[in-house]
């Protein structure tokens, strides 16, 4: 080994604490990168493979009822490669002894396995057999959540008729990766399942012999999705078509896209923060190293080493840190990525989902680490290269100190000599001081920006579940009903209030933009369902015209006062031009609202009740649910508390795990920054500190010189950190918002508080560890040497 390389290894070992602290920050960048990019890649690849293998369709359409012959007509539309018709039917399931409502979506499946689109993957068992109408394949998550098995039987109410279903297989399909019951915002595997039943059996059970109510379509390469959708809508219009839509509006696919988008956003925001801090840390540590090794550099150059050899020597120091960081970061990233993938596997139903270690991702992380370390090293390396040997061997000029503005103020406040030492040292090294302040501030900002997602989710939850929804139960009907149904519900003992709601599927068009949305309405005296805007105030339905959610209005580029065209999907396909009266800030979904009268004008039907909202006496819950289960008109019952619990469980599982990671990461920044500043400070001031000890200062007082400077810098970072956190949180909530969720920016004081406390603890704990070195100050040795 060459002598210079030997020096490099010894330098790395001598400065191992600082090397490790920088590597920790760089490793955090590499880890988040490897985690989020790796999970993103794993999810994307798994999804794409699954979609391709099981022939996930490109366009989907629903209708009230159409003859099977319509499939051929759709298949003939230019741009359509394949079309396949099926029946989808909701059913309620009756588990003896269980009062909680359970729903299932039944899908027709070809008994011979000849389906071409959205193909079922059997995990166990077999397909239903022709001539055995009760045989079903059930989705894996539902089977697990309800402790069912092949051979289990379930009583179902299908299309108003009771039927015993027998599970003969367990499976999953690409159109139900994320399975949501209607009206739910979070999957509940124990209350909602997807079943596949023989086509003939489902036709018989739903009186749809040789008829369908759903279509799936694949497109030829290069076909225009919009054109095909328009043509399909025209074909299906006479059959109550509810509007064809592409993958982006397919619920399961949209949730998956949303997740991928968030992972992507995370990759773009978080690693850069760590990388920035790491650049600064390498810059100050290498800068200090080169300053202390000035004479050695001069000597080595005098021996005849080239400038390039010296520069490369110091650059290698930075690259060695990057190598260590890449190894640590990749290992941590793979571990976290696997944990996160396991979490995803609970919510997304894939036949296989493993975190795959992807060499390009690891290489990407390595490239980032090396680039950041190299960039940080640039300043120091340049200084080392530029140093002339003779000049380098002479002692450096003494640092120039001067009293700054702060001190002139401080003089009045009666600064002690120690106080002057602290303040002037900060002012003497403004760049390094600023880096310390910025580094700790970034750590606090990052922590805040990530922990406030909890506030954001809770605000969304509160708005959705407590302010907007005041009912206890939502009862959906098999088909729209008249007021008799409401009356029947009101008769159940323990039901305190019943209110109707209805929603019609419509296409809202403005210029060349159009969006599918449900237009919801409630009666003027409604108390159970209220539209709440971002600030938490209830907004009344406009007597005429539409109220749009902000999300929808933005997509259509409309403002209050504009007029839009509304085309009802299904039914009579009414087309109306309506004014947009108001915009409401909502967090979940894209929705439109209108008064009952307006919706009646669009729908023009006589059965205006699509669902009923119930407020009940909690003591009567079980009895009410039992009774609802026996009512043939009831399709499903959603319990608000159950949905809320599920949502909170998801936040706990998902967010808390992430937040623990981020507390670790943010602390890594604070520790890395403060440790390096403290070590440099200590090495620069060892001589002065020893002098103070000689003069009769106690260890604790001497320690204060170190801690005082660091404390000032850390305290200065608090307001900056809050500011950075505020900006970063706003950016991140915006980046994490999607068509499905619009995250509110609603940070709590507690989040600011916790971020500040955690960062202060990490920073000052680290500073105190370094300050303990004062114990080891050798007064005698230090004073013998020239400073």
């Amino acid at each position: 080994m060459k002598a210079l390389d030997r020096k490099l290894l010894r330098d790395l070992w001598r400065l191992r604490g600082q090397v490790f602290a920088i590597a920790l920050v760089l490793a955090a960048a590499a880890a988040t990168f490897v985690m989020s990019m790796g999970v993103h890649r794993s999810l994307t690849e798994t999804r794409d493979a699954y979609y391709a293998r099981n022939h996930f369709a490109d366009v989907f359409a629903g209708m009230t009822r159409a003859p099977r012959s319509v499939v051929a007509r759709v298949a003939a539309i230019p741009g359509v490669q394949q079309a396949e018709g099926t029946i989808q039917q909701y059913a309620t399931l009756d588990f003896p002894g269980r009062v909680v409502p359970v729903r299932a979506l039944l899908n027709a499946v070809d008994e011979e396995g000849r389906d071409r689109l959205n193909r079922l993957t059997l995990r166990a068992g077999r397909l239903p057999q022709r001539g055995h109408p009760g045989e079903v394949v059930a989705d894996e998550a539902f089977v697990k959540a309800n402790a069912l098995a092949i051979g289990s039987t379930v009583d179902a109410l299908i299309h108003g008729r009771k039927q015993r279903l027998r599970i003969v297989g367990v499976g999953l399909a690409p159109n139900f990766i994320y399975a949501l019951a209607p009206g739910d915002i979070i999957p509940d595997d124990s209350r909602f399942g997807v079943f596949w039943i023989g086509r003939k059996a489902l036709e018989a059970a739903t009186d749809r012999t040789e008829a369908i109510n759903a279509l799936s379509i694949t497109l030829t390469r290069g076909a225009s999705e919009a054109d095909v959708i328009r043509a399909v809508d025209t074909v299906l219009a006479p059959y109550g078509g509810t509007g064809a839509y592409g993958r982006k509006d397919h619920l399961s696919n949209a949730f998956l896209d949303n997740e991928l988008m968030q992972l992507n956003a995370m990759t773009r925001v978080i690693p850069p923060v760590f990388l920035l801090v790491a650049v600064f840390l390498v810059y100050i540590v290498l800068g200090r190293m080169i300053r202390t090794e000035r004479a050695q550099i001069g000597l080595i150059k005098a021996f005849g080493y080239s400038d390039w050899a010296i520069g490369w020597h110091y650059l290698k120091f930075a690259l060695a840190v990057a190598l260590l960081a890449t190894l640590m970061g990749a290992a941590a990233g793979i571990w976290m990525g696997s944990a996160m993938t396991r979490l995803y596997a609970q919510y997304y139903r894939f036949p296989f989902l493993d975190y795959r270690i992807s060499p390009p991702v690891i290489l990407g992380a390595a490239a980032l680490s090396f680039a950041a370390a190299g960039l940080g090293a640039l300043g120091g390396v340049r200084a080392a290269v530029a140093l002339a040997p003779a000049e380098a061997m002479a002692p450096p000029p003494p640092p120039v100190y001067r009293a700054g503005t702060v001190e002139r103020l401080g003089r009045a406040a009666g600064f002690s000599a120690i106080g002057h030492m602290i303040v002037r040292h900060i002012a003497r090294w403004p760049g390094r001081s600023a880096i310390t302040v910025l580094g700790v501030a970034l750590s606090g900002g990052l922590l805040f920006a990530t922990t406030q997602f909890l506030d954001s989710s809770r605000t969304m939850l509160d708005s959705f579940f407590f302010r907007a929804q005041r009912q206890d139960l939502t009862v959906t009907f098999i088909e729209p009903r008249n007021d008799d149904a409401l009356f029947a519900l009101a008769q159940i003992p323990g039901v305190l209030r019943v209110e109707p709601t209805r929603g019609v599927a419509a296409k809202i068009i403005r210029g060349n933009r159009s969006e599918r949305a449900a237009i919801e309405s409630a009666r003027a005296d409604a108390q159970l369902s209220v539209r709440i805007d971002r600030s938490g105030t209830a907004i009344a339905l406009p007597p005429g015209g539409l109220m749009l959610s902000r999300q929808l209005a933005d997509k259509l580029a409309v403002r209050a006062g504009d007029r839009v065209e509304v085309e009802m999907l299904g039914g009579r396909r009414t087309r109306l031009t309506l004014p947009v009266v108001s915009i409401v800030d909502e967090f979940i979904g894209e929705r439109a609202y209108a008064s009952e009268k307006t919706v009646d004008a669009i729908a023009r039907d006589a059965s205006p009740v699509g669902a009923a909202l119930l407020r009940i006496d909690p003591a009567a819950r079980a009895r009410i649910l039992m009774q609802l289960k026996d009512m043939p008109m009831v399709l499903g019952v959603t319990e608000k508390t159950a949905a809320l619990e599920k949502f909170e469980q998801m936040i706990d599982d998902n967010m808390l795990t992430m937040i623990v990671f981020y507390i670790g990461f943010a602390s890594a920044i604070a520790v890395g920054v403060v440790y390096n500043s403290a070590r440099i400070l200590y090495s620069e001031r060892a001589h002065e500190l020893a002098t103070l000890r000689v003069l009769g200062y106690f260890r604790s007082e001497v320690g204060l010189v170190l801690l005082g400077e660091l404390a000032l810098l850390v305290v200065a970072s608090v307001p900056l950190g809050c500011l950075i956190g505020y900006g970063m949180a706003q950016l991140m909530t915006a980046m994490f918002s999607s068509d499905l969720f619009r995250l509110p920016f609603a940070p709590s004081r507690a989040s600011y508080g916790w971020s500040v406390v955690i960062v202060l603890l990490a920073a000052m704990g680290t500073a105190a560890t370094v300050a303990r070195r004062v114990q080891q100050l050798d007064m005698v040795r230090v004073l013998k040497a020239r400073d």
Partner: protein, 246 residues
């Protein structure tokens, strides 16, 4: 003269330091270095004592032990009757704070503090200090009190160090090569300030030097060799530093 409440007056006499059989052994790995091999010494209060001897003869080790920067391995050392060898770190710090002024070859000023502030570093914590300006006036630097060390010459810096040492009105001034980095003329000025402190404040002064010429200003001169006092000279007529040259 300043005496700390923690240090009692020696009832028996007026000795500042009394050392008996003082030994110091440094252990570095397997090898032992005997820096002091049984030193017996009494330094009366108000004495100017010069320690001479080659490098490694033990004079700096003795000075450091006298000043409470280091602890003897065995033997006894009393300052005005109080045993120093049993003291812990905090007590030794308190002892230095109250009684000892140090002056070193390389000044050891804090570069970020002005001359006055360097002196205030001591007056901030001493029990009966003189004003910082007064101490600087004593060394003839009253007009340069707002200068930073980098703006002062070597001699001026050393005089600031002297002012810092005498500002607390210490019982004893311990000086390790105080003129080692200075030319003759500047060195003399520094020694004059030490003599003045001895004369006016009654401060005991111990000076280590390689420069035999300085010995003429001492009441006594100790010659060190191999960790022991090899020889002692008593100077019946110490000369004023102004009469010294080298």
């Amino acid at each position: 003269m300043s005496t700390s409440g923690t240090v009692e007056m020696d009832a028996a006499g007026n000795a500042a330091f009394t050392a008996s059989a003082l030994c110091k052994v440094y252990r570095t790995g397997e090898t032992e270095v005997h820096a002091l091999r049984g030193v017996d010494l009494e330094i009366p209060a108000g004495e100017v004592l010069v320690l001479l001897g080659p490098s490694g003869s033990g004079k700096s080790t003795l000075l450091n032990i006298l000043g409470g920067l280091d602890r003897a391995s065995s033997g006894s050392l009393r300052y005005r009757g109080t045993e120093l060898t049993d003291m812990g770190d905090a007590e030794l710090t308190r002892f230095r704070r109250a009684n000892v002024g140090f002056i070193f070859q390389f000044y050891n000023l804090i570069p970020s503090l002005t001359a006055e502030e360097n002196v205030r570093l001591v007056t901030d914590i001493a029990e009966h200090p003189m004003a910082a300006e007064e101490a600087l006036a004593l060394v003839g630097l009253a007009d340069r009190r707002h200068h930073y060390p980098a703006q002062l010459s070597g001699g001026e810096q050393q005089r600031v160090a002297v002012a810092r040492a005498i500002a607390k009105q210490p019982g004893v001034l311990l000086c390790d090569e105080p003129t080692g980095a200075l030319d003759s003329k500047t060195g003399v000025r520094v020694l004059e300030t030490l003599a003045q402190a001895n004369r006016d404040l009654g401060t005991t002064v111990v000076i280590i030097t390689h420069n035999a010429g300085i010995a003429a200003m001492a009441h006594r001169v100790l010659h060190f060799l191999d960790g022991r006092i090899a020889r002692m000279e008593v100077n019946a007529h110490p000369v004023s530093p102004a009469g010294l040259s080298w």
